[in-house]
Amino acid sequence: MKRSTVASRYGGVFVLAAIIAILPLFLANSFYFDVAINSGIAAIVCVGLNLLIGYAGQISLGHAGFFALGAYSSAILTDNYGWPPVASLIMGLLAVATLAFLIARPILRLRGHYLAMATLGMGIIISIVLNQEVNLTGGPDGMPVSAFSALGWEANSDLTWYWIVGGSLITTVWLALNLIDSAVGRALRAVHGSEVAAQVAGIDTTRYKILIFVVSGIMAAYAGSLFAHYTGFLTPSEAGFFRSIEFVTMVVLGGMASVFGSVIGAVILTALPQFLTVFHDYEHVMFGLIMMLTMIFMPKGLLPSLRNWINKRPL
């Protein structure tokens, strides 16, 4: 029994690592690398967001705000203040963690639609600040970001970025799976299942909600920081409402409370607009449509539905 739980926890990580290791052989040019890297960055955000939405049952329509704050912290500290990128990254994560912690207590008292509206407002405020603070962020025109470097080494090739993002994603997935398979993870799911029963079991529900809000914010900020250095140019649209909705759609499509589902959802919805021009022209419409169709036909999301289907299939 113990062996099987270890296998089920790490089996998926090995498969993911194997896919990430082999994939470069099939990436013909930098366009494909770009899609893969952006998919990986979105997947990191979605794995964190799924801990909050899918496991702990708390919605956030403002996580692009944390993503953008991570990105802009890196950009501003590195380029305006000359900090080393690694220090900027860590500072950005600390800043987002602090902000998420301060927002969490008042905001997570709310439930359902009210929480959705409050997080939406949070994202909009961050977006407005990034637009208005022209001296720091360049405002709506955006700002350039220098390359990521550490100890004289600089990340400048597609392949390097591919490994950085791939390694980060594997680590994120591994940490998320670890967390879920612990008393802390069970407590988070219990908060989702029944808050009053969770409290009776000795779980300080407020504390756990704050914890996972902060953790998912940190993961989004980390992905944002990678994104800033990778693309080399930021605009406030990264904090926009549509970006937040994109992340949530990826989580919903892949499957609530499914870590690997989030990775798959992120890959599909990052890649589709790049390969299908129809999708690209009607991106907003397509995202809305995918969200609706998922809700109607696969409310559990892609991966859990697939798993159910395989389990139920007559052999």
Binding site: T5, A183, R186, G193, S194, Q199, A201
Partner: protein, 256 residues
Amino acid sequence: MSLLEINGLSKSFGGVHAVQNLEYTVESGKVHSIIGPNGAGKTTLFNMVTGVYAPTSGKTHLNGRDITGLPAYKLAALGISRSFQNLQVFFNMTVLENVMVGAHLHCRRGFLESLLHTPSISRSNDGARRRATELLEWVGLEAYITAHTDSLPYGALKRMEIARALASDPKLLLLDEPAAGLNNIETQEIDKLIQQISDNGVTVILVEHDMRLVMGVSDHILVLEHGQKLAEGTAGEIRKNPDVIAAYLGGTAETN
């Protein structure tokens, strides 16, 4: 020895006095039942004792320690657990995981060690899994251990909630209508279970409408009506109490 002391406890919702100025002492190691017509304040009393509601006034003491108004999760750490009248199942988890959540306070819960899944977390998980399995077998749900909660019949979910409540190793267990919606055979199983729980040294407070169950299992009974104490005593005393008979049968010829 008294485990729980309730002094002048009241709870009002707007103008409705759900529980008024209640005095009651729960003796350690006994089975206590709270009965009364619908709306008498039984569940409100439960919710105050378990920290789901804060009382409007009055005090509760556990082993002499003032626990008035403490939140449920702190009371759990002090040894109070409960089941719910309307099931509160974690439907997003398996049966085993539901009971493992009950053992939350006995698990290692450091954030960093959980994130890295250190060997101590593995051991803690194994311990919780073993304990939950034992309890599920004990309440007679061995067939459902790996099942998902949404595949369980109602009676099994009720017993799962009892197993979950026991997983915290409570000193005081409050069962809110554990036999509601169950058939005769299932009720007899609950009856046996309550006696076993009591034999293991856990003090039980029961809210129940099934009089046969209450009269058979209780050492002491508290009767509530309109949020106030109507009577208390042993099953025999309660059965003969004219006020209780009046409340249950809808009044006698003389009204007071």
